[in-house]
Symmetry: C2
Subunit: 246 residues, 2 copies
């Protein structure tokens, strides 16, 4: 699996400039001399990170990242996974545009740290993909952003009251801004099993707080305790869940 990436010169695009639809498609299939940098990403990394998914190469995915806020500065485009943005010659990601597909960004290298689901659209600042209304606390909050491509058409999972798929259970195949509103007994989920597709689980109701991406391709879709929810999971608190749709 290789990652198509190129560095473009900083052309300081206008705020909220519409994405060049036709041009974008062309770029992903052309690799002429106008592309001074092409990065070959690492291969599959199964096993050493809790949330890894192979890119579905048949699906069209494209993301453009910038090292300055509001789509300014150095720019790179990707059509498949990027394990470490710094290895691609970019110091950090301060804004990004998802042109096609759904992606997952990671706070730290090796797909660790906080996870951010990135759906099609414009993310002009840190707050746009973190959910935070404030600037990052630490200067290095964006230094280690990593991207995975995902493409699922339907999703189904079962959540369990206790660890190791024990206790009361409920099957999910939709979006749930409040698990308690649908009858779940408390603000925690002990374990879960993703039969197909992928979901984002959130710490708080209304799709807020820490995000955990759960997918059927990751260790058989089984998340036996909250420590498997993500490297940043500190409690089993989950109060809203939605599907990641392509």
């Amino acid at each position: 699996m290789e990652s198509k990436a190129k560095v473009l010169t900083a052309d300081v695009p206008a705020l909220r400039a519409p994405a060049p639809r036709s041009g974008t498609v062309k770029k992903t299939s052309s690799h002429g001399p106008d592309q001074p940098y092409e990065h070959h990403a690492h291969g599959p990394l199964e096993g050493f990170v809790p949330l890894y998914r192979r890119c579905d190469l048949s699906a069209t995915c494209e993301i453009t990242v910038y090292d300055q806020e509001y789509f300014q500065g150095k720019r790179m485009e990707f059509t498949s996974c990027c394990q470490n943005i710094m290895e691609c010659g970019m110091e950090n990601i301060r804004s990004l545009k998802v042109e096609c597909g759904s992606w997952v960004g990671f706070e730290h290298s090796s797909f660790c740290g906080q996870q951010f689901v990135l759906e099609k659209g414009d993310y002009p600042r840190f707050e746009a993909y973190s959910g935070s209304n404030s600037l990052p606390h630490r200067e290095d909050d964006l230094l280690q952003a990593h991207l995975l491509c995902c493409s699922h058409k339907e999703s189904r999972m079962t959540i369990y009251e206790k660890e190791n798929m024990v206790g009361r259970q409920f099957e999910l195949c939709n979006d749930y801004p409040s698990l308690q509103a649908m009858g779940w007994m408390n603000n925690e989920v002990g374990s879960m099993h993703v039969q197909c597709g992928a979901f984002v689980c959130y710490q708080y109701p209304g799709y807020r707080g820490h995000q955990y991406i759960m997918e059927c391709e990751c260790h058989g879709g089984e998340y036996k305790c909250y420590r498997q929810f993500g490297s940043h999971a500190q409690t089993p608190q989950i109060q809203s869940i939605r599907r990641i749709q392509h």
Copy 2:
């Protein structure tokens, strides 16, 4: 319309203690001498705030608010609107539990400032309902929280490219984590008309960033320009929309 509220002694409940289901129902219908404080809220305030909705008194709504994080300190319960929490004898709201129904919290008095949709569940800290992963910047961020009850069974709205319901349009009746993924042309919505129910519009994809609550009862459901989206709206940027469901 009157607001049922009472101040209970601080009993320092355990973290993530399950909400007392049966007891809660009992409290809202009993008003004996064990309730030292009962507040009568202002009546309907139609017209002077952009997002006001009459409580549907036939629906069961209940919210418990605390003046300390993690459900500690002074506690009050409401079954209908509260215009100004300070007039109820509580300095601020630092955590809350939505026991029943969906609610909207406001940052400032007169239903102004940032809006927060509050669905059933536990909100132990500011970040839980703001979406911010950091503490509030200002100490007074929580001083003016206000609550509205909502109860809608179905929702339908039309979004327009330009102000005053002009330009390309799209009808919505579902949840859309990315408007652009469904074919919307850019990251902005010029105007909108809510035919029935209520929606939350978000600045960024994936239900992130500033929230704007749009409802059919508010000035005929018509939002003719972004300045009517909410008192804190500074741009027409809207990239994800979801229904508020009861």
